[in-house]
Amino acid sequence: MNACAGVFAVSCSGEQTTGAQALQRERQLNQFLAEVERRALRIAEIGVRDRDEALDLVQNAMIKLARNYVDRPTAEWTPLFYRILQNGIRDWHRRQNVRNRVMVFFGRGSHEDSDYDPIAAAPDPAGRAPDEQLQTQQAMGELELAVAVLPTRQREAFMLRTFEGLDVAGTAAAMGCSAGSVKTHYSRAVHTLREKLGEHWQ
């Protein structure tokens, strides 16, 4: 009888510990996603130049992280999350390329560049003088366009390093390449962007 009581006590204690750990993990994941989601959305939006598509990509990345990698150490979540997101963005571009080729074949080519207005797509302004808002939005619009047309790896390196603030090792993990490659892509991206943007950014 005492043995059974012991077994019961151990079982209940184990269940409580597991439940508490799961709850703690869920809180950590919620905090992580809440912290990263807005920057991730803007990064995805610059990558695909469409907010709704970017929202879908960010949500998919969140779900994949929660489903497959939540047991990994929390320090790994940021590069893992961005790796999933960047893979999603790359897949999106592949699908778009195939779709565009098909549309061109049938004489209905895509004009995705012509109908994208980064200033109109910019978020609602808040709390500043109209001139300042306009100047900021125009500058950001120019930066977005310049970043969007960078080669894929340069764009990824620049956004992860500058916008998300990942270090070289974290960026390399997120991009699935070496630290040396990250430095090269990043340096080229900065050089290209500064040349394109000119006096706005000097």
Binding site: S11, L55, M62, A66, V190, W201
Partner: protein, 125 residues
């Protein structure tokens, strides 16, 4: 040629612009992000097989322990060879054995032996 200092200034400006655009995301977009996050958290709660297993493991272990305890305490049912309650199994085994089939096939022979034995005993008596 870009100098490192100029690059730093550029990076700082770009980061500030980006952060500003993040801060100005509208309420509808933030709401959609929140919905996406909740969907991910729900996925975490429901789709983790290891989590589900570990959640049920204590209950499963306890049920197994209880079953073992019952078996050990009660033990196997006592078998009395003379007890007629087990005769069903015994009869069934006999009927299914090859010998039993032989006996059925030669039933007339065994009947004759039985009658012959009875008569010889009777005559002797």
């Amino acid at each position: 040629m870009n100098t490192p200092d100029e690059d730093k200034v550029f990076e700082k400006s770009a980061k500030a612009m980006f952060d500003d655009s993040v801060e100005r995301l509208d309420a509808a977009t933030l709401s959609k992000l929140n919905q996406g996050r909740q969907a991910a958290l729900a996925e975490m709660a429901s789709a983790s097989p290891s989590g589900q297993w570990s959640r049920w493991m204590p209950a499963t272990g306890m049920a197994a322990a209880a079953l073992v305890a019952v078996v050990v305490l009660r033990g196997p049912a006592p078998v009395d060879p003379l007890d007629g309650t087990n005769s069903t199994v015994t009869d069934f085994e006999i009927l299914m054995s090859d010998d039993a089939l032989d006996m059925i096939e030669e039933l007339e022979f065994y009947t004759w032996i039985d009658v012959a034995e009875f008569e010889s005993t009777d005559n002797a008596g």
